[in-house]
Amino acid sequence: MTAALAEKHTGPAPQPVRNSPPPPARRGRGRERAFDDVPRWQIYVPLGIYLVFTLIPFYWMFLFAVRPAGSTSLVPWPMTGEHFSKVWNERSFAVFFQNSMIVGVATLFATTLVALAGGYALARFDFRIKNGFMLALLCSQFIPGALMLVPLFEIFKNLQMINSLGSVIIAETVFQLPLSIILISGFIKNVPMTLEEAAWVDGCSRFRAFCAVVLPLLRPGLIAVGSFAFVHSWNHFLFALMFLSEQDKQTIPVGLNTLIGADSVDLGALAAGGVIAAVPVVIVFAFIQKWLITGFSAGAVKG
């Protein structure tokens, strides 16, 4: 404690976070939250360094996407939209974008609904194959999706679903399910059973009680799980690469891969494609990152 206090005085003045009387304030603050004694520079310096490492790559991509071909300027001015219109129209990113949206949104809803049902069963019932089912969920985490490509391809070929977005939606949903079920059952366990029982006593059916009482409390968790599913399927590319060979069915990551693999890589177009790929997930992420943290800490499955 003494060391922490001494350090505090040598560091820059702490930000006035709380208004407490001066002399006992130091001890009072220390008691409230010991870690608040960290000198400010010990927060801002490493954070600043890490922020530079995180943001420069994004900036670099943005820079390449908006500066005219042949320019070597490090400032994105003058801006041009030529790369964007090129990838959007000539390289069919408009179509890829639409396909990725369909896959992402469909996976989001399918995963959330199926996982909600399964998670509810695990959280609220004891049944004979429960432990076996849990074990299967955990074991499936060890299965490399990349190595299931050939058998999955054969299955979808038999179902006549090759070159249909449905194959990718199913595959993404299935591989997203185990973790989603585990997380959701954790969230449901955190909702006291007595709340539901009270609703039954009031005459609600099990389903209505669930919708009226449990569902609203699951919101942060469902947002975490749903956004996980969306971001994951938006990003994942092996299934789309394998199952969708027609160009008008492909998704954004496959389009990016094509740009990377081109004989002479058009860096401007590649960067513009990257920006198009990044925008939806970064927006989703900006909205959900708070819920992500509360969602995970609520859903922490222990014991």
């Binding site: 404690m1 922490a4 008691r31 939250r33 010991a34 004694d37 400010r40 490493p46 954070l47 890490y50 922020l51 490492f53 420069i56 790559p57 994004f58 670099w60 991509m61 390449f64 070597t72 609904l113 199926v114 049902a117 399964g118 069963a121 299967a136 499936s140 060890f142 299965i143 490399p144 990349a146 190595l147 299931m148 058998p151 299955i155 299935v174 399910l177 059916s205 099990r206 389903f207 669930f210 990003n235 994942h236 092996l238 990016l256 891969n257 740009l259 990377i260 860096l267 494609g273 990257g274 790929a277 997930v281 970064v282 992420f285 990152q289 943290i293 509360t294 995970f296 800490s297 922490a300």
Partner: protein
């Protein structure tokens, strides 16, 4: 479809609430169970089955039962197996340990209260949402020799023109490592930060009253609290880093000269490009067994869920 069934089923059940609780849980896990049986269990079984077969689309005359030939070929003849397995181990080890160290540090920093915390969190976590292909895209832009980072460094007199870190066998590992760290650290930071929310403030109060400094508080309160979360996160991430191929596939393509080929990448090349699906299945089976064995040993050694609290 299956998800439609999931919504349709629950409302029917309550009418017979007295009789239903026996069947309801089965109805509820049915959609998930059926999907996983059809699209995970069945492919896994067929991989096991094909691992005992000669199955090569380009050499159909040799197809048929092979017994353990594929497996003995892996362990006795195939040097690629050992080199790619070694590289996988190196990749997973370096990634998981660095991601954990940086992610833990980052989580501790953004768990403090300071001005600009919300926006800093959003920014440092944002690469979590970025895909392997997009990560490759970004780092290809940074690493390329004509207009990438090195060119501007060379302009300033550092290094020389014409070096691409991705085509040099000496630098490619670290080039790929940095790219993967960039998007991997937020995963650990998010999970650890989530777990930090549940550390009881009273413990720190008591510790500081007893005169424990920040380092001792970290070692004796924070770290033990985070233990299970760290074990679980490292395990999940280790498996994920082992299995995931999209970054290396698009960034280096396993090259140069096979320098960055992981075992799954080798399997994918054998099965998909080489069409030797029987052998690829045997490799998959071996990889799966190694992964499962390592995970069990790891959980045992780390005493996950033990009585440390």
């Amino acid at each position: 479809m299956a998800q439609a069934a999931a919504v349709a089923k629950p409302p029917k059940v309550p009418r017979r609430r007295t009789a239903s609780p026996r069947r309801l849980p089965y109805l509820l896990i049915a959609p998930a169970g059926l999907l996983m049986l059809g699209f995970i269990a069945y492919p896994v079984i067929s991989v096991f089955y094909y691992s005992l077969q000669n199955y090569n689309v380009t050499k159909p005359w040799r197809n048929g039962f092979a017994g353990f030939d594929n497996f003995s070929r892996i362990f006795t003849e195939d040097d690629h197996f050992w080199t790619t397995l070694g590289f996988s181990a190196q990749w997973v080890g370096v990634q998981v340990s660095l991601q954990l160290a940086l992610g833990l540090a980052l989580a501790l920093i953004v768990n403090q209260s300071f001005i600009g915390r919300g926006i800093s969190r959003a920014m440092v976590f944002s690469p979590w949402a970025v895909s392997g292909v997009l990560t490759s895209t970004i780092w290809i832009l940074l690493y390329n020799s004509s207009t990438g980072f090195s060119r501007y460094l060379a302009d300033a007199g550092i290094g020389d023109y014409g070096t691409s870190v991705l085509s040099d066998t000496g630098t490619v590992f670290w080039a790929a490592t940095v790219a993967e760290l960039w998007r991997g650290v937020p995963f650990f930071a998010i999970l650890i930060l989530a777990d930090l929310q549940s550390v009881s403030k009273e413990l720190y109060e008591a510790a500081s009253v007893d005169g424990a400094g920040r380092m001792r508080q970290f070692l004796h309160i924070t770290l033990p609290h985070l233990r299970d979360a760290i074990i679980l996160a490292t395990l999940l991430r280790g498996v994920w880093e082992f299995n995931n191929v999209d970054l290396l596939y698009t960034l280096t393509g396993g090259g140069p000269a096979g320098e960055t080929t992981t075992l799954p990448l080798y399997v994918a090349n054998t099965g998909i490009e080489g069409h030797d699906f029987g052998y690829a299945s045997a490799l998959t089976t071996v990889a799966f067994v190694i992964l499962l064995f390592c995970s069990i040993v790891y959980l045992r050694l780390s005493k996950f869920g033990g009585d440390h609290k």
